[in-house]
């Protein structure tokens, strides 16, 4: 049986092969070749696509270039979601590589956040960590950390340094034995239908009488349609990091081992593939 720590490494090093193609409406001085890249599931698009930008800028005139944005089959990709979440939500039933279209004009202001520099990504990432700790520890652990500790979390993610990141992140995963777990579990449940981008509410890892809450318990409370009843046909998949964990898995364990670097459990509810 795999060690729990192995799970942490497997999650960190998850990759998705992607192929970037310039949108046909973009004016170029010569033909633009597609660009291939392995994307880390746990990172953010704007943090890892500098090479993509440089590649396409070579064939474009400066006056045709505005902020780069990415799209998959007409859907603008929200850079502030972890890459793995975007893939599981929009493209998991398609053949690899993930075909992403690159744009340099007509930025969709209503749908996408601007990302003028890496500090914007850092600020977004850190605010996720802080919010997660507000839920887990009433912000006590993150507030007790020094500025350099926060920086270490960010640098670990930015530079793909598992050990550097976890040396600090393990503090955010601790809890006292009498508590038995975190105060509330930081999670977001994403769906592909409807206006609401995600569901995020308060949910404890243990019930009032000390029973361990499972993934199934969370879904029954927050998204009952995802829990198939006996005899019924399964219509929805519950996906975390590209896999379907058993619904009996304790939520506390999932939070400690399958969270993203921002300390949130990002859960995708997608239709069962029809093929």
């Amino acid at each position: 049986m795999a060690d729990d720590k192995d799970v942490l490494r497997d999650v960190w090093y998850g990759r998705i092969p992607a192929c970037f193609t310039l949108h046909q409406d973009q004016v170029t001085e010569r033909e633009a070749e597609p660009y291939y890249l392995l994307l880390p599931r746990v990172s953010y698009l704007t943090l890892v696509t500098d090479k993509v930008k440089k590649h396409f800028l070579k064939v474009m005139r400066a006056e045709d270039v505005e902020e780069m944005w990415l799209e998959y089959e007409g859907t603008p990709l929200k850079w502030h979601y972890p890459i793995g979440v975007l893939f599981d939500l929009h493209a998991s039933s398609s053949i690899l590589p993930w075909n992403i279209t690159v744009h340099f004009k007509d930025f969709p202001e209503r749908d996408l956040l601007h990302c003028s520099s890496n500090s914007v990504i850092e600020a977004h990432f850190m605010s996720g960590i802080k919010e997660a700790d507000a839920l887990k520890h009433k912000s006590q652990v993150v507030n007790d950390m020094q500025k350099k500790d926060h920086k270490q979390l960010w640098m670990g993610l930015q530079n793909d340094k598992f050990d550097q990141f976890w040396a600090m992140n393990r503090k955010l995963m601790e809890y006292s034995t009498e508590d038995g777990g975190f105060r509330y579990i930081p999670f977001r449940i994403y769906q592909t239908t409807g206006e609401r981008p995600f569901i995020q509410k308060l949910f404890r890892p243990l019930s009032a009488d000390g029973a361990v809450h499972t993934l199934g318990d969370l879904l029954r409370e927050m998204y009952p349609a995802a829990v198939t009843h006996e005899g019924a046909e399964k219509r929805l998949q519950v996906v975390i990091h590209g896999i379907e964990p058993l619904l009996e898995t304790p939520l506390q364990w999932l939070s400690e081992h399958l969270s993203h670097p921002d300390n949130f459990l990002h859960i995708c509810i997608i239709p069962v593939p029809s093929d």
Partner: protein
């Protein structure tokens, strides 16, 4: 980070009801948007002086002034007449939306807002600051600038600006205390 202790979702909803009552009396335009999680909403159509705005916003104001003039003039009239009546620095008409949601993570209200020109173009944060700044003399500018960021609206999934929850406390505490006093 200090939080208003004891604010849960029910208290938030109760405070919102008070705000709505006051808003009704003052004809201030706040409404309740119902959903599984409800929130306060107010939309405002207003013109802003854009002397301090970026050039891009000035261009928008000029174009919109000219296009609205063109609509009013006859079709046969020549193009160079349109825009002749536009002032040098026309006011920019802006449609602004303000939402007050409840953050269960921070147990505090959070404000989201956005502004668009009448042609649907989103205003940048810089442009908005140029006409908000003159009104905020007491708070330190740097302090405020670091607490307003672009965010995804958690219920609508669209781009808004958000006043950071930490600062909601600073801004909202006097308001809520007054509301709670009235409630007794």
């Amino acid at each position: 980070m200090k939080m208003i202790s004891g604010l849960d979702e029910d208290s938030f909803v109760a405070c919102c009801r008070l705000v709505l009552q006051k808003s009704e009396e003052l004809r201030d335009g706040w409404r309740w948007e119902q959903g599984s999680e409800g929130y306060l909403r107010k939309t405002v159509l207003h013109s802003v002086s854009i002397q301090e705005a970026e050039n891009s916003e000035r261009e928008i104001a000029h174009k919109e002034c000219q296009s609205s003039e063109a609509v009013l003039l006859d079709d046969e009239d020549d193009d160079n007449v349109a825009g002749a009546n536009c002032p040098a620095d026309p006011p920019l008409w802006v449609h602004s939306e303000f939402h007050v949601l409840f953050s269960s993570s921070y147990r505090t209200p959070v404000m989201f807002f956005r502004s668009n020109t009448l042609e649907g173009r989103a205003l940048s944060l810089d442009a908005m600051w140029s006409f908000i700044k003159p009104k905020l003399k007491s708070s330190s500018e740097e302090d405020l600038l670091s607490t307003v960021t672009q965010q995804e609206h958690p219920l609508l999934g669209q781009t808004f600006f958000m006043l950071h929850p930490c600062k909601t406390n600073t801004f909202m505490r006097p308001v809520l205390q007054a509301a709670q006093r009235e409630n007794r």
